[in-house]
Symmetry: C2
Subunit: 464 residues, 2 copies
């Protein structure tokens, strides 16, 4: 078995080549939610299979009804644990394109705002850069000693940014092949550029598209205004009613299953020193918009939300058109916490809309994502091992945090494979994931690889 | 002077050629609100100048800061009145294009739903088809007797569908040239396919674009949901608040200057027999959406409205994107009646939005159209003359109606030229103006020409 120090040296020496590989992956436009990029998604999967094969994995592209999965296996020493590493090769859409300083699919190493070197481009952080930290750690182990310290299965998805519609069926059909001792997930962020973090709580996600239909065609607002139902009004009124003046969601039964966060947990979060100003300041805001009387970290880590992610209706081009459109739609999502049930939330929202539907209007719902909140164990041996590995690399104890985002696959690993997950990621709050000008610090990429090398080293000696 | 009967015969004999001319005009994509079609607007103006010149008008394209005007003069017999005919050659945008049965700019005579021949295409009714009814009547007079019965100025605008930004300055600068005894406007509709109408009331229009800005960039709704202000929420909440449950507009001072419609007028409208079902049924609706307890015709002819004509924010493509956008916007318009003041309405709306603006958000307003409601005289001699001419052509008394739409130029003719207007049009309620599948009945086009020939004939003998 390669000595850890040699592996870390190898990672350091390999950085230029590692960045070149990542840039190649970033050039592939694997936007999963837009069917125009279907072939690009497959290309990304094929690129990963080729790269993993070159390292020595037994890797394959696995078809689904949507974008393919990548599954790659590598043996480990007898008695060492079997880890299942998860990441996703698909990326978010890039609009509004005009706000990008550089082409999102012409990635490069550039100088960031604070003078640090950054890798720019869509997916540089979420999640191509992050998943390649693990792949590069494996490559270094293989280069130095020809082996990996654990048995490793790498499982990469191509539909994470579009609600993972194929995941459950795939896990169900391939459970025997994918079962392991522990799942490793690299899709989360650090506390800040010098403080690593392990995430033990994730909000769930229910997302839904709602379309209000009224007249059978677009109408002239002069001829029909005051007489014909306007579906944009119905949508605005209904969605405007979703919150009260205290920032609480007004949908009946929405808070069923939401317990108050324990005082001890809230105190530990308060100790992190985050304020509304420090959290919101970097994006030009300062006043929390959600429920009043709660700390900023409680709002994003432990409270549920109802959010309009997109809305469209009528004429939205240049100039003006006095139209009453025949329909209007919105994309709405709910972040869930604790024991909120996704099925209940979706039907409560639908009922809320239907009860506000005026005569003459018709509503159409289209379900998207659907996952409950997740609370991971705080005290399993693998967590203690990972904490020590990260503390070694960063010369600082990792914080144990929750996360406002949703990684539904973590719950599905538990359901279908019986697996607990270790969530370690190296993204930073200013990485602009899902936004224009996404980036990943070169140092995040580098120290991420070293962190995984250390985690694999300690996990090899741990009873997961 | 040509005998009216010969002119009408000439019109009848000329219909195939008249339709071919209209189809040529309809092929020009003169969408004024979209700058991509700037050259097409000029082409339409040039086409009209060439056609009017061929008839014997002294016609010219007149530049403005926007799209050009067309002005054409023709002398009349000594002592005959001078009429100023107004129409507009610009058209509405054509989206959503996929709902058109035929290409909006490949016009043709086709069979309509009820078996009648129709001319299909954008602008076929509003307003190219309508304005050509007058041009064809003039052509027939010239062909038969070489003269026109009145002195005629034809004044055609290219910005009616985008708020007429150049009109006031143009009227102000060219008042002496454009002054006449009476304005004739052909941009309104009939009661039904067999009943002509003269319009004596028009609602005003204030239109405004409102953009809510929040964070300095798009945010991930997982990371920031519950903490960061969502501009779509602010927009939905604010615009959703614009109406109460009785359908009344809640903006303070909105109803200043709105008197109740006289009982006598309401009774005359009731006598027309229009019901909510008959008015809304053809567009798939049946329940009036506006103020409760008022008749359908009062709602569209005599009551003010607040209408959202377009809204957009966040991700609206295929699939889902869990984004909190940095901004969202809506296009909002108000139909005004009676003495409502456009300036007061605009500032009342802006105040209404600003008062609801949460901390951290910023609002931006962009004004579009701005015109008061118009009430024309019921008893001037030109009106009596036009009624008799229409009654002759249609063998039925025209109805005297109001209109829910706005034709700001009618008020501007009064202000800048001191001119009253006669509003006669041949559009039908099912012409789908501003919508996909706009059409103009071949019979509307034909009898419109005959109607103008008769109106010119009686106006020639009238002290306007």
């Amino acid at each position: 078995m390669a000595a850890l120090a040699s592996v870390l040296d190898r990672i350091d020496a390999e950085q230029d080549a590692a960045i070149r590989r990542l840039l190649n992956l970033l050039r592939i436009k694997s936007i999963s939610t837009d069917l125009a990029y279907k072939e690009e998604c497959r290309r990304a999967a094929e690129w990963l299979v080729a790269d993993l094969t070159s390292i020595g994995f037994y890797a394959s592209v696995r078809d689904t009804n949507g974008h393919p999965m990548v599954v790659a296996h590598h043996e480990g020493p007898a008695g060492a644990p079997h880890v299942l590493f998860y990441g996703h090769y698909d990326v978010q859409p890039v609009d509004p394109l005009e706000l990008w300083t550089h082409d999102p699919f012409e990635p490069a190493v550039r100088e960031g705002k604070d003078g640090h070197a950054i890798i720019t481009g869509r997916g540089s952080s979420d999640d191509k850069g992050q998943l390649m930290t693990f792949v590069e750690a494996c490559r270094a182990y293989k280069a130095v000693g020809g082996m990996l310290p654990c048995k490793v299965t790498i499982f990469l998805e191509g539909e994470e940014e579009s609600g993972s519609p194929s995941m459950q069926a795939f896990l169900d059909a391939n459970a025997d092949e994918l079962k392991a001792d522990i799942a490793l997930v690299c899709d989360t962020s650090q506390r800040d550029a010098t403080t690593p973090a392990i995430c033990v709580g994730l909000r769930g996600l229910v997302s839904e598209e709602v379309t209000i239909h009224a007249a059978s065609r677009d109408l002239h607002s002069g001829s029909y205004g005051g007489a014909a139902a306007n579906p944009i009004h119905v949508l605005a009124k209904t969605l405007g009613d979703m919150h009260d003046n205290e920032g609480r969601v007004t949908i009946p039964r929405f808070y069923d299953g939401v317990a108050e966060t324990p005082r001890q947990t809230l105190d530990s979060w308060d100790a992190l020193g985050e304020t509304a100003e420090s959290f919101l300041g970097p994006v030009g805001l300062s006043v929390p918009s959600g429920e009043k009387g709660r700390s900023i970290l409680e709002l994003v880590w432990a409270r549920p939300t109802a959010e309009i992610n997109g809305i469209s209706g009528g004429y939205t081009g240049d100039g003006f058109k006095t139209v009453i459109p025949s329909h209007a739609f919105a994309k709405v999502s709910f972040r869930l916490v604790d024991k909120q049930d996704p099925v209940t939330i979706r039907s409560a929202f639908r009922k809320f809309v239907q009860e506000r539907l005026p005569p003459d209007c018709r509503v159409e719902f289209k379900p998207h994502g659907n996952s409950p909140a997740i609370q991971l164990s705080h005290d399993r041996p693998y967590l203690t091992a990972a904490k020590s590995a990260l503390a070694e690399e960063w010369a600082k104890e990792p914080i144990i945090k929750a996360m406002g985002g949703s990684i539904p696959v973590v719950g599905e690993f538990k359901t279908y494979l019986g697996l607990d997950a270790l969530l370690v990621g190296f993204a930073l709050p200013d990485d602009c994931i899902h936004s224009p000008n996404e980036k990943y610090n070169v140092s995040s990429f580098h120290k991420g690889q070293r962190s995984w090398a250390r985690i694999l080293d300690v996990l090899a000696k741990t009873q997961c």
